[in-house]
């Protein structure tokens, strides 16, 4: 199919050939420039301008308004709830990620591919539906609703529901970072540790963990960013009670709908800052993981 024979007429004519000393596998300078400009214009219109807008709008009415917006009681309670939700869901998914990666990467068992697919499932579910399914389980008309009500427990429209929805949304992050790396590393090192008499815990702490620490950190960073920024799923289960069940993204929505744009963007700028820090850390860790993967690849050869 890929016949590359070109009719003789289309071949560059010998006399006109060396326009420049560019290699045969490079593009003409104007093509190169056009492509770079196209890419930059696209990224500017859809990424860079929105990012800049967050900060410009946040400071439009000055430092005073900005500071007031992020320190008023409702904002503070939203920040606290966001930190709480992330503080619970990230460690839970970290433990899950390590367990799943250990089983999948180091052992050969039936149903492994199915398990891998199921771990990715939360990524393909709309956040709104993620919230809805917890309403179906814990809501008043849900499976456990009547039982919860008789015991005076609240999950939906309360903090536990927000945490659960956040856990669901951030479920795959750590596992996904760990599994490919641990699979590439194989199990020889752990086996050697065991043969040399290490206990399971010693082997894990001294061999496995140091080998995956950067990927682990990377997974935690991504997990945390998503946990703090989740909107759709949390919006369904929160009930939007000011000062009680509002996370930062929900607080932004309320401010925005009340036309308090500067305040909304002020709170948003905190999350945008978090996103930038996340990207920075991600970049650093990515370099390390790349380095380590290369190392793992060399060892395998």
């Amino acid at each position: 199919m890929n016949t590359l024979a070109v009719p003789a007429a289309k071949l560059p004519q010998a006399g006109a050939a060396p326009r420049a000393l560019r290699p045969a596998t490079g593009e003409a300078p104007w093509v190169r420039a056009a492509l770079i400009v196209t890419a930059l214009v696209f990224l500017t219109l859809f990424l860079f301008v929105p990012l800049a807008a967050v900060f410009v709008e946040a400071f439009k009415k000055g430092w005073g308004v900005y500071w007031a917006a992020i320190t008023e009681p409702d904002a503070r309670s939203a920040i606290a709830l966001t930190l709480l939700a992330a503080g619970i869901s990230v460690p839970l998914n970290l433990v899950f990620g390590i367990s799943a990666a250990w089983a999948i990467a180091k052992f050969d068992f039936r149903g492994k591919n199915l398990l891998l697919t199921l771990i990715d499932l939360p990524f393909s579910v709309s956040p709104v539906i993620a919230g809805l399914i917890y309403v179906l389980v814990f809501g008043l008309q849900g499976w456990l609703g009547p039982w919860l009500q008789t015991h005076d427990l609240k999950v939906i429209f309360a903090v536990p529901g927000i945490v659960l929805a956040t856990v669901f949304i951030t479920f795959p992050f750590v596992a996904r970072e760990l599994i490919p790396l641990m699979q590439a590393q194989g199990q020889e090192q752990e086996e050697a540790a065991r043969v040399l008499g290490a206990t399971g815990w010693q082997m894990f702490r001294r061999v496995t963990l140091p080998n995956v620490k950067w990927a682990l950190l990377y997974g935690v960073i991504l997990c945390n960013a998503r946990a703090m920024g989740e909107f759709g799923a949390v919006s369904v289960v929160s009930g939007h009670i000011r000062g009680q069940t509002n996370t930062m993204p929900l607080h932004i929505e309320i401010l925005y709908n009340e036309y308090q744009f500067a305040a909304a963007f002020a709170v948003a700028s905190l999350l945008a800052l978090l996103a930038l820090v996340t990207l920075g850390l991600k970049y650093i860790v990515e370099q390390r993981v790349k380095h380590q993967r290369r190392g793992a690849g060399d060892r395998a050869e």
């Binding site: 860079f48 043969v195 993204p249 963007f265």
Partner: protein
């Protein structure tokens, strides 16, 4: 004990299989599988006509049309520009390249609500970009499209980039030696190699866009029949205490998402084979 005896294909000296897999399965069931099954079980309690009525009323169908149409168009735009961005990042040198490369992941890191209000502000008629456009973007279906483009940017770039990095220069040199122009080399040598990754990126962006909520609702205007996306309709029904109606629509979306997930997995396997073969 039980898990290792029934599932393990090969005996291993490494410890912890039962504990690790046992915990992983328990956690997966509690957080993901059981709650998800609740959605399907809930719809089984509905009669067929009631289910059909809930998922095919005109307002719902209009929302499918918008969600699918806008997601498809946004994924298509991202496929084209994503390929250009990936190409430029892999092949050329220019100022701030590393910074720009890192910022491509912004839609993954920036909360959707933040993206939503920012896009609404700049594409509004008095906004930085909106004021230069002859047509309205914010509060129209076009706004939905803009938001979905934003959240889809990293998918194509990040799936195509590593494949493009691996394209061997020898192939291109061979093509050039045989007299192919740069454009011919691109369309007949490079494009077939990156095509599986490009399709995967397209499908990922499309799947993500279908379920997106946070960035869209601010910019869409949310007019029933015109600019109301399906996820918003689910929330609207929930707020009207129509839980069965909301669940029925959610099940339709879930089935489509799972089908897309299957498609994406197949595409990825194809991509891996294609790459391994070269």
């Amino acid at each position: 004990m039980l898990l290792s005896r029934t599932l393990l294909r090969r005996h291993s000296v490494l410890p912890g299989f039962d504990l690790a897999l046992g915990f992983a399965l328990l956690y997966l069931s509690l957080i993901v599988l059981i709650p998800l099954s609740a959605a399907f079980l809930k719809t089984f309690t509905m009669s067929w006509p009631a289910f059909w009525e809930a998922v095919s009323s005109p307002r719902v169908v209009a929302s499918y049309r918008l969600s699918f149409g806008a997601s498809f168009a946004a994924a298509l735009l991202n496929a084209f520009f994503g390929l250009v961005v990936a190409w430029v990042l892999v092949r050329y040198e220019f100022p701030f390249k590393r910074l720009i490369d890192a910022l491509v992941d912004l839609p993954f890191a920036l909360p959707t609500a933040v993206a939503g209000i920012a896009l609404t502000a700049i594409y509004a008629q008095n906004g930085w970009i909106g004021q230069w456009l002859p047509f309205k973007v914010s509060f129209t279906p076009l706004g939905v499209f803009v938001a979905l483009v934003f959240i889809g940017v990293p998918f194509v770039v990040r799936t195509v980039q590593p494949v493009l990095e691996d394209v061997s220069r020898e192939l291109e040199e061979a093509a050039a030696t045989l007299g192919a122009s740069r454009l011919q080399t691109f369309t007949q040598v490079i494009l077939p190699i990156v095509l599986p990754a490009l399709l995967t990126g397209f499908a990922l962006a499309f799947a993500r866009a279908l379920g997106e909520y946070g960035s869209v609702i601010f910019i869409a205007g949310n007019m029933p029949m015109v600019s109301e996306i399906t996820p918003l309709l689910i929330i609207t029904k929930l707020e009207q205490y129509d839980v069965p109606g909301a669940t029925a629509i959610a099940v339709v979306m879930l089935v489509i998402s799972f089908a897309l997930l299957l498609l994406i997995n197949t595409l990825q396997t194809w991509a891996r084979k294609r790459q391994g073969g070269i």
